[in-house]
C-alpha cells in the first residue's frame, strides 16, 4: 500500500525520532511510504486561535502536498482532527475534500485499516501510563470516554497489548485533559501547567514508568512540566514503542 507520511511541523523540528519511528513502522507493516518534502503544518495553531485567515496558506499548502495520495498518515490525532473536521479556511474544492477524507491518524490506520495486532519485533518491560489525547478520544472516537456509558476498547491500548512485556498503570482520571490545548498552553499558562502537573502526578501515583501517547504535543507539554518538577518519569510516542525503538 502506498501512503504519504504527514510529519507535523513540531514533530519534524523537535521530535524527529517520532517521525522516523512512524516511517519505519509503516514500512515494517508493508507500506510504501512517500514523504512530501515541502510539507509544513496543517494550519491548526492559527485556526484554534480563531485566526482562520492566517491558517489559510498552511491549509492550502497541506492540500497541495497531499492531494495526490490515497492515504495520508500522521502520527498526531490533534493535527488529523484539524484536517478532518476544521479545514475550512480554504474553499472546499474536490482536492480539499479528498485530502480531508483520506487523512488518517497512525493508530487508527494501523488498527482499522491495516488491522495489525502483533508487533513481534518490539518488546517493552515497563509499566506504562497510556495517555489518549482528547482529540483521539472525543473527536476521532478511538476509545470510550468516562462521560459516556458506551463500552469500547481503546485502539491505542489494543495495539500496545501486541507488544510483549507491556503492563498498564491505571491512573485515577485516565481521560482528564492534560492541559496542552495548543494556544491554550500559552494564553492560559497557569491553568495549563497545573493541569500538566496533575496529569503527570496521576500517572506517577499509579506507578507508570513511561507515559505513552499518540500525541506528541500532549507529551511535549507533560514532559516540560515533569522536567521542571524534577520527575524522572519517561515519555514516548506510541510509534516509538510499536517500532521497537525502546526494546
Amino acid at each position: 500500500m502506498k501512503v504519504a507520511l504527514f510529519v507535523p511541523c513540531f514533530i519534524n523540528v523537535l521530535y524527529p525520532k517520532v517521525g522516523i519511528a512512524t516511517l519505519e513502522l509503516l514500512e515494517k507493516l508493508g507500506c510504501e511510504v512517500v514523504v512530501p518534502p515541502d510539507q509544513t503544518c496543517c494550519g491548526q495553531p492559527m485556526a484554534t486561535a480563531g485566526c482562520h485567515d492566517d491558517a489559510a496558506a498552511a491549509e492550502a499548502l497541506f492540500v497541495d502536498n497531499f492531494a495526490g495520495f490515497e492515504a495520508i498518515i500522521g502520527p498526531s490525532a490533534s493535527c488529523v482532527q484539524h484536517i478532518r473536521k476544521h479545514l475550512f479556511a480554504i474553499a472546499q474544492t474536490d482536492a480539499v475534500k479528498h485530502v480531508r477524507a483520506h487523512t488518517f491518524e497512525l493508530v487508527e490506520f494501523v488498527h482499522d485499516i491495516l488491522a495489525v495486532r502483533d508487533f513481534p519485533w518490539a518488546r517493552l518491560d515497563k509499566l506504562i501510563g497510556l495517555h489518549n489525547s482528547c482529540s483521539a478520544l472525543r473527536s476521532l472516537d478511538q476509545a470510550a470516554t468516562s462521560e459516556l456509558p458506551e463500552q469500547r476498547v481503546s485502539k491505542a491500548r489494543t495495539l500496545l497489548e501486541g507488544v510483549a512485556g507491556i503492563r498498564f498503570a491505571e491512573p485515577k482520571r485516565p481521560d482528564e485533559c492534560c492541559g496542552f490545548g495548543g494556544v491554550f498552553s500559552v494564553f492560559e499558562e497557569a491553568v495549563s501547567v497545573r493541569m500538566g502537573q496533575d496529569k503527570v502526578a496521576d500517572h506517577a501515583q499509579a506507578g507508570a514508568e513511561l507515559i505513552v501517547s499518540a500525541d506528541t504535543s500532549c507529551l511535549m507539554h507533560q514532559q516540560g512540566c515533569a522536567q521542571r518538577q524534577g520527575r524522572s518519569i519517561g515519555f514516548a510516542h506510541i510509534a516509538q514503542v510499536l517500532n521497537g525503538d525502546l526494546s
Partner: protein, 460 residues
C-alpha cells in the same frame, strides 16, 4: 468595560493550594456521581437525544409556544408580563412590589435574576432582598456573585463560610461545625419568610400546555418563598419552555443526575395558579435570547437547562474557579453565552478552554459546547477582539507555516538561537511556555533533514 482577564484571575486562584485542591476534588466527585447515575439508567443516551430533540423543536416554534403558555397561565389566573431586557424586567418587578407596598422580599435561586442584576436594583430602591438558598445566602453575605449555577459557594472552604458567618451573623469565631453554622443561618433567615410581603422564584421549566412553572430545589426554599408571602413573582427566560406536561419527566430525570449526581432534586414544585387570596405573576424575559436564537452556530445554547454538568467536568473551570470568569455564567456554557452579552468584555472566555470536548459529552441536552467555543474564537478574531500582540503572532506564524522556504529559514534561525542562548536568556519572562515548563529538546537535525540525508534520491 474592559476585558475580563480570566487567565490572570485563574493564576490568582491557583496560588492557594487548599482552595484549588478542594475545588477540583469536590467538583470531580460530582462528575463521578453523575457518571454513576447515568450508567444506572440504561437508556441514558436516548434520554439525552430526546431532551435535545424536544428543546430543538420548542425553540423552532418558540413564539407559538410562548403564546400558548401565556394563554394557559392567564386562564389559571396568573398575570403574565413580557420583558425585552433586564432593565424592563427590573422595572416590572419593582412596579409590582411598589404597588403592593413591599419592603421585604424573599427569593430563591435564579440565574436570570443575576443576569438582570435585580438584587442591587431593588436594594437601591429601599427593598430588603433575602436570598433563601443556602449557597446564595453565603454569597450574598460575602458580597460575591455565585461562582457556579447550581452550587454557588462551591469555591469556599468550611473555614471561609465560618468566617463570613462570624462577621455577618455573629457565630463564634473559628466555629466550623456545619450543623451549628447551618442553624445560625436558618434562625437568621426564617423570620424573613414571615416578614416578607412578596416572594420570588426562578423557573426550571415552563409547561406550555398547562401554564405551569416548575422549580427544582434541594432545600425547599422556593416553596417557602412562593407560598408564604401573598405575592409570588416568577422570573423566567423565554427558553425555559417545554411543550407538554408529559415532556417534563424526561427533563427531571436528566437534571439532577447531571447536576449533582442525585436521581432527583428533593423538591420538584409545580406552581400553576395563585393561592387563595394571593397573586401570582410571571415575567417572561428575552434579554438577548431571541437574538441568540437567530445565530446559526450558537442558537442551540438556548437548549441549556442550567444543570452545571459542563462546569463540573471542565478541567479549566475546576482549576480556575467560577469567579475567574467575571460573568454571570462561568465554565463552558458561560464561554458560549457570555460573549452574546458583550463580545469585548468576554472575549477571553472562549480561550479558557482546551477544546477537550468533555463538556459536550456530559451535556444532558447535547449542546455541542466545545465546537461553539471553537466557533466563538473565529468570531472574536474576525471582530478584531484578539489582543494585538496575539493577532500579530498568528499573522507571523501563518506566514511562516504557509511557505516551505520561510519555514525552513525560521527553523534554522530558531534552532541556532535555541542551541546557543544560555538558559538565563531562554527563560526570560517573555517565554510564557517556560514559566512552569522546560522547553522541548532541540535535536541536531529535523526529520526532513534526516530524511534527505538517509533517504535522499541519490541513496539506494
Amino acid at each position: 468595560m474592559s476585558r475580563v482577564d480570566h487567565a490572570g484571575h485563574a493564576r490568582e486562584f491557583l496560588r492557594d493550594e487548599a482552595h484549588r485542591q478542594f475545588h477540583d476534588q469536590r467538583l470531580w466527585e460530582l462528575r463521578e456521581k453523575r457518571d454513576a447515575q447515568s450508567r444506572a439508567v440504561p437508556e441514558w443516551e436516548r434520554l439525552r437525544e430526546a431532551a435535545s430533540a424536544i428543546k430543538t423543536h420548542t425553540l423552532s416554534q418558540l413564539a407559538d409556544y410562548l403564546e400558548q403558555f401565556e394563554a394557559a397561565a392567564r386562564a389559571n389566573g396568573v398575570t403574565v408580563h413580557w420583558a425585552r431586557d433586564g432593565t424592563e424586567h427590573n422595572a416590572i418587578v419593582h412596579r409590582l412590589l411598589a404597588a403592593a407596598g413591599v419592603d421585604t422580599l424573599v427569593k430563591s435561586k435564579s440565574m436570570l435574576m443575576e443576569e438582570c442584576e435585580l438584587r442591587p436594583f431593588l436594594e437601591a430602591r429601599g427593598i430588603t432582598v433575602m436570598e433563601t438558598d443556602l449557597g446564595e445566602r453565603i454569597q450574598q453575605l460575602d458580597k460575591q456573585p455565585p461562582s457556579h449555577v447550581v452550587v454557588p459557594a462551591v469555591h469556599k472552604l468550611r473555614g471561609d463560610v465560618s468566617e463570613v458567618f462570624h462577621h455577618t451573623l455573629g457565630t463564634e469565631a473559628g466555629c466550623e461545625d456545619v450543623p451549628t453554622l447551618a442553624r445560625a443561618q436558618r434562625e437568621h433567615t426564617r423570620p424573613f419568610y414571615a416578614r416578607a410581603q412578596a416572594g420570588m422564584t426562578g423557573a426550571n421549566f415552563l409547561v406550555a400546555e398547562t401554564g405551569a412553572v416548575v422549580v427544582c430545589t434541594n432545600e425547599g426554599n422556593a416553596d417557602l418563598s412562593a407560598n408564604v408571602p401573598p405575592l409570588h413573582i416568577v422570573s423566567a427566560g423565554i427558553e425555559k419552555l417545554i411543550p407538554r406536561q408529559a415532556d417534563l419527566g424526561l427533563f427531571v430525570r436528566l437534571l439532577s443526575r447531571s447536576a449533582l449526581g442525585s436521581p432527583i432534586t428533593q423538591y420538584t414544585s409545580h406552581f400553576r395558579a395563585p393561592r387563595e387570596g394571593g397573586a401570582m405573576h410571571i415575567v417572561l424575559v428575552d434579554n438577548g435570547r431571541s437574538t441568540r436564537l437567530k445565530q446559526d452556530r450558537f442558537w442551540s445554547s438556548l437548549k441549556c437547562i442550567r444543570c452545571g454538568a459542563c462546569m463540573n467536568t471542565c478541567p479549566v473551570y475546576r482549576r480556575s474557579g467560577g469567579l475567574s470568569y467575571g460573568a454571570v455564567y462561568p465554565g463552558p456554557i458561560g464561554a458560549v453565552i457570555d460573549p452574546t452579552f458583550n463580545l469585548h468584555r468576554y472575549s477571553q472566555l472562549p480561550y479558557a478552554s482546551t477544546l477537550n470536548g468533555s463538556c459536550t459529552q456530559v451535556c444532558p441536552v447535547k449542546i455541542n459546547l466545545h465546537e461553539q467555543i471553537y466557533a466563538w474564537r473565529q468570531v472574536i478574531a474576525e471582530a478584531d477582539e484578539l489582543p494585538p500582540a496575539r493577532r500579530r503572532l498568528m499573522r507571523v506564524l501563518g506566514r511562516t507555516l504557509g511557505d516551505p522556504a520561510r519555514f525552513r529559514a525560521a527553523v534554522r534561525i530558531g534552532g541556532a538561537l535555541r542551541r546557543r542562548l544560555p538558559r538565563l536568556l531562554l527563560y526570560l519572562p517573555l517565554n510564557t511556555w517556560g514559566r512552569g515548563r522546560e522547553l522541548p529538546p532541540m535535536p541536531k537535525e529535523t526529520f526532513q533533514e534526516w530524511y534527505r540525508r538517509e533517504r535522499g534520491r541519490d541513496k539506494p
